[in-house]
Amino acid sequence: MKILGFLIDNSVYFYVAFMLAGALVGYFGRVPNFIKRHNGRVQTLCLILLLLAIGIEIGSNEEVLKALGNLGYKAAAVSFLSVLGTIFCINIFVRFLTKDKKGMMNH
């Protein structure tokens, strides 16, 4: 249990480490075919568990439940403005750094 506590307290470093470890295994190691084939399923399963756990955290937090409407509107504002900012920035970058104004991939 002590090890788990250590892992949880320092989880950010371990997140990066685990992804890098996976990438190294995928790149240099021989990944058996059955793992490659089921990798997508593993990810979906993890996602389901994570979403359930997040749901439980939200559900047991009365204050968040009360604020959900208010939180949703904040969330939508951040994503909408981020998307607009991204389009704007890429447009400027592509205009100045490449010769093709519309993006070379357009047909």
Partner: protein, 197 residues
């Protein structure tokens, strides 16, 4: 996918609301271990894709324009949101820095900051993915292919990839994958960095 997301979240919220004793130790453990497995698995996918990794070397700087501009543009938009919503800048920046990867950014911020901001991050990144999936065909047509890839953020390498490829010529795929790949790598780095500001 959307059905699974909504069902799991709703189910979890119901369990959490009805639970008579605190489950937070268990959920904390599930989240940490679940993310370890998820990230390791995503890492294997990235490492196995040798063609994408080789292209990074060959095509050089051009491949970095989209992810770099996406980071800057998202930061710019999030800063604007901080002013409009009167929220602290580090909070909106951290929420935006999920680039659509809702599972990681929501969990990360819940753990490092608060359940409340984690919920905002989760919702915001789900919304970003939904906006991306719906708008990519339109953006590709009327604005440009690179903009479509950027809007998808980290999802440009998985969920949004088929939509991007369908709406543009097929050679966009490598740009899309690499942009999503780099942004995915940046999420666990930029979110804590933004929160710490």
């Amino acid at each position: 996918m959307i059905v699974i997301i909504v069902a799991c979240l709703a189910g979890g919220i119901l369990i959490g609301k009805l639970a008579v004793f605190s489950l937070s130790n268990i959920t904390n453990l599930i989240i940490t271990l679940g993310l370890f497995v998820l990230l390791f698995s995503v890492g294997i996918d990235l490492g196995c894709n040798k063609k994408a990794l080789r292209n990074i070397r060959e095509d050089g700087i051009k491949l970095f324009i989209v992810p770099v501009a996406t980071v800057l543009g998202t930061g710019f938009g999030s800063s604007l949101a901080s002013i409009l919503l009167r929220m602290p800048l580090n909070e909106t920046l951290a929420v935006g820095a999920g680039f659509g990867w809702y599972s990681l950014s929501g969990v990360l911020i819940t753990q490092m900051h608060s359940v409340e901001l984690g919920t905002v991050a989760f919702l915001s990144n789900v919304i970003r993915e939904v906006i991306a999936l719906i708008s990519i065909p339109l953006i590709s047509r009327y604005i440009g292919s690179f903009e479509a890839v950027g809007v998808a953020g980290a999802t440009a390498m998985d969920t949004a990839l088929p939509v991007i490829v369908k709406s543009n010529s097929p050679d966009i795929a490598i740009y899309s994958f690499i942009s999503g790949f780099l942004l995915t790598l940046l999420v666990p780095v930029l979110v804590p960095l933004a929160l710490g500001l």
